[in-house]
Amino acid sequence: MTLQIALRHRFAGFVLDVAFEAPAGVTVLFGRSGSGKTTVINAVAGLLRPDQGRITADDVVLLDTKAGTNLPPHRRRIGYVFQDARLFPHLTVRQNLLYGRWFAPKGAAAVELGRIVDLLGIGALLNRRPGALSGGEKQRVAIGRAILSNPRLLALDEPLAALDEARKAEILPYLERLRDELRLPILYVSHAISEVARLATTVVLMEAGRVTAAGPTAAILSDPVTAPLLGLREAGAILLATVVAQDDDGLTRLVCAAGPLWLPRVAAPVGASLRVRILAQDVMLATTRPIGISALNVLSTTVRDVRMGDGPGALVQLEAGDEMLLARVTRRSVDALGLAAGQPVFAVLKAVSVAQENVGATG
């Protein structure tokens, strides 16, 4: 399903004017606080009627201000996890979770309550009321409620912001599965670039009510122009890799265009194809193949571009076959190693640098 969104709306002192396409998969809206992300989602969900706009999901017109079409929220079937959880205070957690069930079309591929409850770790809360939940617990129930409503599209507004890393690490793969197995399109607002890199099929960068860049995740993340918009520390490229073997010492061996790659155990069968995000700052460059070091991965690449930053840093774009890699080094090192386009260099990467959250199924 592809979502086409074109909106124009003005609040006192704020103008939203966006147009973008959200193809199947996860589309992440990324932007600073107050840039208009929630406003966009509200319009998609039908909670805000924009001054002008047209929103279609494949050939269903959700909104067309010109034609006067405006599907009411309950007929849009968009599972919305609000930035503030908005649980129903008079219902128990279980009733909150099952609320959407009443209204879901019969026979739709149903997600099991038990499964979601386990995933979100809210089994002990089922008979409580929202008033007595912690901040993170509320947010988890809200996620469950949206998923269980059997929506045609999920809209998640910073769903994991209030959660600890461990819980995030459990929920993210599940969202991935929703994306892949149920082929549920997801609109996702997040400030955490690791979530973006891991989940996103498409990234939409917003700034002050406008879209400053939009496109496939790999392209946006490895583009030295857009990368700084995401925060320099989070710049990085996505490599496609295939699982070759699961070694005994807990490492997984993969192969990518630039050579072999060892990562801490990846829970994927041999032959599986994965997206591995490699942060620019985790990549060290060497002119000669280093020896006697702890880093396991040494990839042969060629410098394609060197972009000096304003500060002490530089972004080096590397080519390996038809894949791209980004490395962030100091300008001093660029000078010392004499890095220039066309020069072959070794990219050194520690196996442990690649976090679980940066390895995702291709989707």
Partner: protein, 232 residues
């Protein structure tokens, strides 16, 4: 009890209970609807409706009674047709007393419910909408449970008012023992009699006892509901 209440008084107590109960019960759904419309919708004539709802409060009860008499009386503009077409007669029946009590209590009920509706966070209703609930369902599953304390408050106000209603009732349906003589009418009649004070006082105490019981019950229910909502 039958010892110290004359049959007429006894009947007045029973009648008052019946009248108040039905007046409250029947007007409740209408009260919720009107309160919802006033709280949430913008429509032409909204303030007119609002005014009409408040009318019984503003007018001296006798006037309301007369208006009822000329409207719903046996020869009244509406009463005539209700009788001819549906065989419904309010005039000089206990149903008429209930009608009068219901109308007199209506503004109180509507205002309580309306305040409760206005206090409901519309964002919760929006959330219900995104989960697939249409307007009526949102109302039934979210708004209604959340305004329950307000509905209870409205109902108890209406019940209490109906128990105490006198002016409009006696004017509309007169004061016929066993049929339209409610407790306030009975008390009034007793007060007109030399030496009737003691008997009137007895009825007053009974009225107070009944209303207090209803009040306590409502407080208790409202508390239980509020506790459920606050989640402890």
């Amino acid at each position: 009890m039958a010892d110290w209440l004359t049959p007429d008084e006894w009947r007045a107590v029973a009648l008052s209970l019946r009248v108040s109960f039905w007046a409250t019960l029947v007007s409740l759904p209408l009260g919720v609807m009107v309160a919802y419309a006033l709280a949430r919708w913008d429509f032409w004539g909204k303030q007119v409706l609002n005014g009409i709802v408040h009318l019984p409060l503003i007018l001296p009860p006798v006037v309301t009674g007369y208006l009822l008499l000329v409207t719903f009386g046996r020869k009244g503009t509406v009463g005539l047709y209700l009788d001819q077409w549906f065989g419904i007669v309010f005039a000089f029946r206990w149903t008429g007393a209930a009608l009068a009590a219901g109308i007199m209590a209506f503004p109180l009920m509507v205002r309580a419910i309306r305040l409760a509706i206005e206090a409901v966070d519309p964002r919760l209703e929006q959330a219900a909408g995104t989960l697939g609930a249409s307007r009526p369902w949102v109302f039934a599953t979210v708004t209604l449970p959340l305004i329950l304390p307000g509905i209870i408050a409205g109902a108890i106000l209406a019940f209490a008012k109906a128990m105490g209603e006198f002016g409009a009732t006696i004017t509309f349906v007169s004061n016929i023992p066993g049929q339209t003589q409610t407790m306030p009418s009975a008390i009034y009649a007793l007060l007109q009699v030399p030496g009737g004070d003691a008997q009137a006082a007895r009825l007053v105490w009974i009225a107070i006892a009944i209303a207090m019981s209803a009040l306590l019950l409502s407080e208790w229910v409202a508390r239980a509901v509020a506790r459920r909502i606050s989640g402890t």
